[in-house]
Assembly symmetry: C2
Homo-oligomer: 347 residues x 2
């Protein structure tokens, strides 16, 4: 190719390089570092430009853009959600993202985010669990053993030290897959045949199912006092996982209320249902768990700042590694006004 | 790298490959084909999901995301606008975009759009001029001879047969650059030292300046009866190019009113200032020019459907060419629920 100027080049992290980067760092280290990045960015929440994600809905799914900026860096993620994809041999969720320099508007990182979203979603639940679960929590029920489940388990272990996992999925093959993947990673794993069985004795319940319908994976009488629930599968309008009585009985913690009221479990509740913003728990401005008997619910839908944290983390960690390539993404003529001249001379 | 599945791969068109593609097709053919694509998409305007672009503004510029969908394909463009960049040796506008399959949510094309935006912006003005200028128009004044100017001139020649060009820029070096670039491409070119001089005898006036301020590049007494004006440089809040008296005297045609009222010349006017949507002129649902004496104004700010058309055009034309590479953008495990297994096995 013609010699492109260094300004034209943007580092690109492919899926293959993301996998290499994760193994280079170590999965659990990656997850706990990422959780720390998210925590640090949540602690400066007010600095960020925040907007609900911009969705384009069809009958079979949604494609969303999730932008945010802290005034120095701008990030956005493209992410789709197509529950029917799985049956067709495709990913329910695929994603990629870009990190840019606010001062110049130039993109500075182009990155796969299918894996990175799974990693950051695990890290986010772990941050919520760290701040909201009882300190003596040792056992987690993982309801829904699909593509997100292992990331949830590994992040909760890395960040909260919870290594006793009870698995349940309506499809036993998913549970077998999850169990096999977690083998040898330091967990004690109990496969269960009902959701009720899985949550027996669990201090933390993480629910990550993918159907695009109002579901009641958990009903109220199943949930005992003192548990912390991460409900992360209900992430678009019309899609919920918990019976509303559980939501009503819980103290609800959210990322960004304007988005969660549209997409989260609280879409079942009145628009003024009380919620606490998780960033305020992290800074100490709001109370988290108030008693050992309280049921806390992290109604996680995924917010742009988490992707920002993840892209910043990748941008920092790929330096001095071979885990990216430079791609010629920006037209950069010698004279910035001479875009046409650059094109003409290439002829 | 590890063998990625074909589903994981997304065609990427770099700046270098875009330049090769344009020359392979021929610049004027590319511009007139692209104008035809835009016209065809404007003719089915009502099928598209439309939303004003989502901007993230800073003191020095803006970063925008521009999504749209026709129900089969989804496209978005990332574009920045940083007028101060030019003085720092950088592009005022850089862009890239993605085209996706609505049914699966999978990205199907990743494409540089700095060049492509310049090309589609030229093609768009040419479409507007074709439908709004007097049929006997032969001379265009090109006010603002920066990065966009040559694309405007070449598109208007390719689509409308206008090859008599009068150039003006506050910086004579820009005019010299534009003139040199257009040399040998079949134009009769007159460099001018004032805007007033440039528009003498012009049937079409295209204004494309980049300062992020309310400007009055043209005042009312300069503009004679019967001209068509393309005002394309005012494309964000606070940035205008025409004196409001010109706007008041013109019949105003716009892409998408909700966006143009925020970003276009009509931001100077009351929120109910009458405008005609250009797509309705193209379908025949609304009248374009009503008399030879009327002043018509295309208040162009650039809309997502034009980028959709451009990405679709590139997607079709790169087939059977070497002008793209496949990049490993999507994580595609054999079992879609086994994202973690794919990561684990890569270790």
């Amino acid at each position: 190719m013609l010699k492109a100027s260094p300004l034209a080049m943007v580092p690109f992290v492919s899926v293959d390089n993301m996998m290499r980067l994760v193994h280079h760092i170590g999965i659990e280290t990656f997850l706990s570092d990422l959780a720390a990045e998210i925590e640090a960015d949540f602690a400066r929440w007010e600095l960020f430009d925040k907007t609900p994600r911009i969705g384009s809905h069809s009958e079979v799914g949604v494609i969303e853009l999730m932008p945010t900026s802290d005034g120095q860096h701008y990030a956005f993620k493209y992410v789709n959600g197509h529950p029917k994809n799985m049956k067709e041999g495709l990913q329910t969720v695929t994603a990629f993202g870009v990190l840019s320099d606010v001062y110049t508007g130039y993109p500075k990182l182009f990155c796969e985010m299918t894996l990175l979203t799974a990693l950051r979603t695990g890290a986010m639940s772990a941050v919520a669990t760290k701040h909201l679960a009882r300190k003596d929590a040792r056992t987690m029920a993982m309801i829904g053993n699909g593509a997100q489940s292992e990331f949830q388990c590994l992040a909760i272990k890395a960040v909260c030290g919870i290594d006793n996992i009870r698995l349940y999925d309506i499809d036993p093959a998913a549970t077998r897959k999850c169990m096999a993947n977690l083998q040898g990673l330091g967990f004690t794993i109990t496969p269960c045949t009902t959701a009720q069985e899985a949550i027996e004795g669990a201090d933390v319940i993480t629910v990550a199912t993918a159907d695009k319908n109002a579901q009641t994976i958990l009903t109220d009488n199943m949930v005992g006092a003192g548990v912390h629930i991460n409900a992360i599968g209900g992430d678009c309008p019309g899609k919920t996982e918990l019976h509303r009585d559980i939501v009503a009985r819980s103290s609800v913690f959210v990322e960004y209320p304007a988005q969660t009221r549209i997409e989260g479990e609280i879409q079942q509740m009145p628009p003024d249902h009380p919620v606490t913003e998780l960033w305020q728990v992290i800074t100490g401005a709001a109370q988290g768990r108030s008693s050992a008997a309280e049921v806390t619910l992290f109604d996680g839908v995924g917010f742009a700042i988490e992707d920002f944290s993840a892209l910043r983390y990748v941008q920092k960690t790929i330096l001095q590694t071979p885990y990216y390539i430079d791609v010629d993404l920006i037209a950069d003529p010698d004279d910035p006004r001479d875009l046409f001249g650059m094109l003409k001379r290439a002829g």
